[in-house]
Amino acid sequence: MTDDAPAAAESSTDEQIREVILRSLREMNYDTTGIDDATLLGPAGADLESLALAELLVRVEDAFGVRFEDDEAEQMAVLTVGEFRAAVAARIGAGAASSAVG
């Protein structure tokens, strides 16, 4: 039970991130049917234009209390939903680690 706890926490964070991404897209009036981890965020997939990508990032920053740099934002269009989710998870982990150190 104690051994399983970290893995369970991780996957629940993953699920939370996925939920925030999908909910954000719906609230931004994008159709999320058929969107999965393999879907590209940019024009070749979910078809988010530059301001929409920017808004998605702000919503994720708001939900998880993290901050992405401008050069990271520029790469978003070529990420898949799954890759973006992993990037968010890594940022949340880094934040937790740095606050633990601090």
Binding site: Y30, L51, A52, E55, V58, R59
Partner: protein, 424 residues
């Protein structure tokens, strides 16, 4: 050689689209004036203006998704939504498709607005509550004053001259004047001209209230609140609205078989150079504006059979305008009426609805009355059309628009010079 003589032919209105508190067509605004059907009311339950103003003019609901792509509909100002609806109606009314009927680069769009200040207010509140993350990246495309013109250009593929004039309550009239000048100069064949205003938000209502500029004491009788030239007038009634005209070189309209409503035959513009909000008491800036408009049209005071006044219902404004009309027209005073009595003051967008009414009066030979003008103020002595519409035969009609900042614009309309005249 005057600017008018330089043009190869006339400039005609081939399409009109309106969003007002009394309807979405020129005929409806005209009917509201004639029948005394007011568009003014107390704020509906739940509206942010409840408790802030007694009376205002609330326009029809328009679903942003009906005029914009879904993702762009969340942080977009009401002024943009209204002007896109008016543009859609005006272009359909003109039967004009950019690219098919006119060269996109010879099509201009001049659409004015104070801008999406309600949206800025809402986002400022969000920011004060939630910080940076409360502010949408869509704020600027959702509120900048030029975005009406820009979004019409994007939606309909208009690639020529585009602009947004910002002359407060003179902006609608001035957009039509700008379109007229573009078409006369030969730079365009079609000019889509308009204005849209969304002033029904708390910050604006509060500053108007604190400036003592709003009509007060009419909560029990909202239809009586806006009273141009009446002795009991005591301020403006804020209203929202939009209007778009399709202006076209008459030869271009003839070539595609389009019928004209009326020609825009003259314009005048001056500045009072006096005070940021108070009109010159002697009305000289406005009088010279009307003189210049008549001169540009090549007509005299006796040729004007109707004048649609700016007529806001303020003490100083109406008195100064009445004096200006008396001065400009001398021994040939035209019949005068004011539309704001039924629509309220749609700021710059009033100029569009009032130009539309002026065109209908000209074409129908029927002058709509000023409602609520029960007891004309002696300081506003004019040939008032009041209570009942007045039949008349007329060749030309004038519409005035004056704005904060001392901006004055007058337009002269004449019978359509196209082969086909639009039924009205």
């Amino acid at each position: 050689m005057s600017e008018r003589d330089a043009g190869r032919d006339g400039v005609v209105i081939t399409g009109m689209g309106l969003v007002t508190t009394v309807g979405t067509s020129a005929a409806e605004v005209m009917a509201a004036m004639c029948d005394g059907r007011s568009g003014l009311s107390t704020p509906p339950p739940g509206h942010p203006l409840q408790g802030a103003v007694e009376v205002a003019g609330f326009g029809p609901p328009i679903d942003p998704a009906a005029v914009l792509p879904g993702p762009e509909t969340r942080v977009v100002d009401r002024y943009i939504v209204m002007v896109l609806r008016a543009a859609e109606d005006a272009l359909a009314d003109a039967g004009l498709e950019i690219g098919r009927d006119v060269d996109p680069y010879r099509t201009a769009v001049v659409v004015s607005s104070t801008g999406g200040l309600p949206t800025l207010e809402a986002q400022s509140i969000e920011r004060s509550q939630r910080g940076r993350v409360g502010v949408s990246p869509y704020l600027l495309p959702g509120m900048l004053p030029n975005m009406g013109a820009a979004r019409i250009a994007i939606k309909y593929g208009i690639r020529g001259y585009s602009s947004c004039v910002a002359t407060a309550c003179a902006a609608g009239g001035q957009s039509i004047a700008e379109g007229l000048r573009l078409l006369r100069s030969g730079l365009a064949d079609v000019a889509v001209c308009g204005c849209s205003e969304a002033p029904l938000f708390r910050t604006l209502a509060d500053t108007f209230t604190n400036a003592r500029a709003l009509a007060r004491g009419w909560a029990q009788d909202p239809a009586s609140a806006s009273r141009p030239f009446d002795r009991r007038r005591n301020g403006i009634v804020l209203a929202e609205g939009a209007g778009v005209f399709v202006l076209e070189r008459a030869a271009h309209a003839d070539a595609r078989g389009a019928a004209g409503y009326a020609d825009v035959v003259g314009w005048g513009a001056t500045n009072d150079a006096y005070h940021p909000i108070t009109p010159r008491p002697d009305g000289e800036g406005a009088a010279e504006c009307m003189r210049r408009a008549l001169a540009d049209a090549g007509i005299g005071p006796a040729d004007v059979g109707y004048l649609n006044a700016h007529g806001t219902g303020t003490k100083l404004g109406d008195t100064a305008e009445a004096l200006a009309i008396r001065t400009a027209f001398g021994d040939h005073q035209p019949p005068v009426s004011a539309t704001k009595a039924v629509t309220g003051h749609m700021l710059g967008a009033s100029g569009m609805a009032e130009a539309a009414v002026t065109v209908l009066a000209l074409r129908r030979g029927l002058l709509p009355p000023t409602q609520n003008l029960d007891d004309p103020d002696p300081a506003c002595e004019l040939d008032h059309v009041r209570k009942l519409a007045r039949p008349a035969r007329l060749s030309h009609a004038v519409s005035n628009s004056f704005g904060f900042g001392g901006h004055n614009v007058s337009l002269v309309f004449g019978q359509p010079s196209t082969r086909l005249a639009r039924a009205v």
